[in-house]
Amino acid sequence: MASSVNFPHFFIPPYIIESIIERGSPKQKERAHKMLALSSQIRDRRQSRPGVVLSGMTAAPGQKYRLIHDAHFGSDLPGLLIRSEGAAPTGDKAADEAYEGAGQTYDLFNDIFGRNSIDGNGMNLVSTVHYMQGYDNAFWDGEQMVYGDGDEDLPEEERLFNRFTIAVDVIGHEMTHGVADYTSRLAYRDQSGALNESFSDIMGILVKQRFLGQTAEEADWLIGAGLFTSLIKGKALRSMKEPGTAYDDPLIGKDPQPGHMKDYVKTNSDSGGVHINSGIPNRAFYRAAIETGGYAWERAGKIWYITLRDKLTENSDFQDAAEKTWQTAVDLFGKSSREQQAVIEGWKEVGIMVHTGKKVRCMDKIRNWFRDG
């Protein structure tokens, strides 16, 4: 992705053009539409240029380097740089939350898991806030984190969402999509996509729990707490402890997440229900963390991170994740450890049986018996 610096002719930001289309006179609108068509051509040309990399600098091991940008309610990324590493707070809530949250997420990965940034090689942590108008979302675009301000453009009595930087687990979630991009590359569809979502929720919740100094027992296990305004009857967007109970509201309906394989939702929507079925592996992690006790990032978190980094592949499904997290627990803590048993219990709770070596050996014996007569 290149910045607009490479194209000095494109100096009117799209958000201004869009604003003119919305509010200008017929003549102004006509002119703005022409400019939009032109900028679209420029953008297409820009996207076709290979090898243009966003913020190619990397930080030294253990040294995070954060860059926060402001999109000014437009869609041009990364936008205007407003805070870089070590600079004083800007006073802009979203910008400062994005900065702090990126730092807390970096620290979890670096201090606990020994990972130097998203790519493992000190990649700059680039974020953009104030993305578009009325943008109820946050995402990782393959190179950076992007955050909308929720329903800031609606009258207060109509707003359902607050700004997306308000919950630190959202920031941890988006950065973890980046980590998945550089490790397992879990495909974003069906069960592998739900796993991708689940790992992001898990690392996001660990960032939050570590920041609050909470043990697994003390934590609320709520994803996106604070994102809903008081108009919505709900605690958060998702509950890892009790999927399906985060909200129940006449306006937006009931939290659709299942917490067990028997309730797995088959759908073509949302890339095969990746934000719905993630409730199943989320709950498996929660149960494993409760079984191991203490701070969730110290044991369960480490098992899940190493599995994501070393063992899962693009098409891994829930069963594969169950087997691989168990193998990682055995590698890290031993075959008779409490931790490997916690992983087995966690997955069993959601209807997935881990096939340990013992069971495999039994199956082998049966197969051999049939084969050898």
């Binding site: 799209p14 869009e18 289309i21 919305e22 609108k29 539409h33 939009l36 068509a37 900028s39 679209s40 953008r43 297409d44 869609s75 108008q133 009325g134 109820d136 979302n137 946050a138 995402f139 990782w140 675009d141 393959g142 329903d151 609606l154 109509e158 359902l160 969402f161 997306f164 959202v170 979630h173 988006e174 999509h177 998945a180 974003y188 569809r189 996509g193 991708n196 979502e197 992001s200 996106g224 994102l227 967007l237 306006l251 937006i252 309906g253 009931k254 939290d255 659709p256 929507s269 949302d270 890339s271 990746v274 934000h275 719905i276």
Partner: protein, 109 residues
């Protein structure tokens, strides 16, 4: 554009995983709004190349937009992944998103 316009609009995906949908019917729009919608459709330039974005590999937490557009007797269908939306289509999606957000009953899980 003088023919009646009916658009069934749906937005799925996103971090929250909530679906947003609405139907915009030019019969229930003011003359100015109908003209604006027609202009936005023309500007978007999506009517002639409907299937192009259907097989796009999704990106984490980004939106998917589905539009079923009836222009008089003609019917068109398009599915757009957020990361590949041309700048020229954004104003149309903004128009439709805004209308679906303002009507609270258009939020459905």
């Amino acid at each position: 554009m003088k023919v009646p316009i009916i658009i069934d609009f749906e937005r799925t995906g996103g971090y929250a995983g909530l679906t947003l949908r609405t139907t915009v019917d030019s019969h229930s729009l003011s003359a100015d709004e109908t003209e604006e919608l027609g202009h936005l459709l023309d500007e978007a330039g999506i009517l002639g190349r409907m299937q192009e974005s259907e097989r796009t590999e999704p990106s984490p937490d980004q939106f998917f937009y589905t539009l079923s557009i009836r222009l008089g007797e003609e019917q068109h269908f398009v599915r757009l992944a957020e990361k590949q939306i041309p700048l020229s289509v954004r104003p149309l999606l903004k128009f439709l998103t805004k209308r679906s957000r303002i009507k609270k009953e258009n939020h459905n899980p």
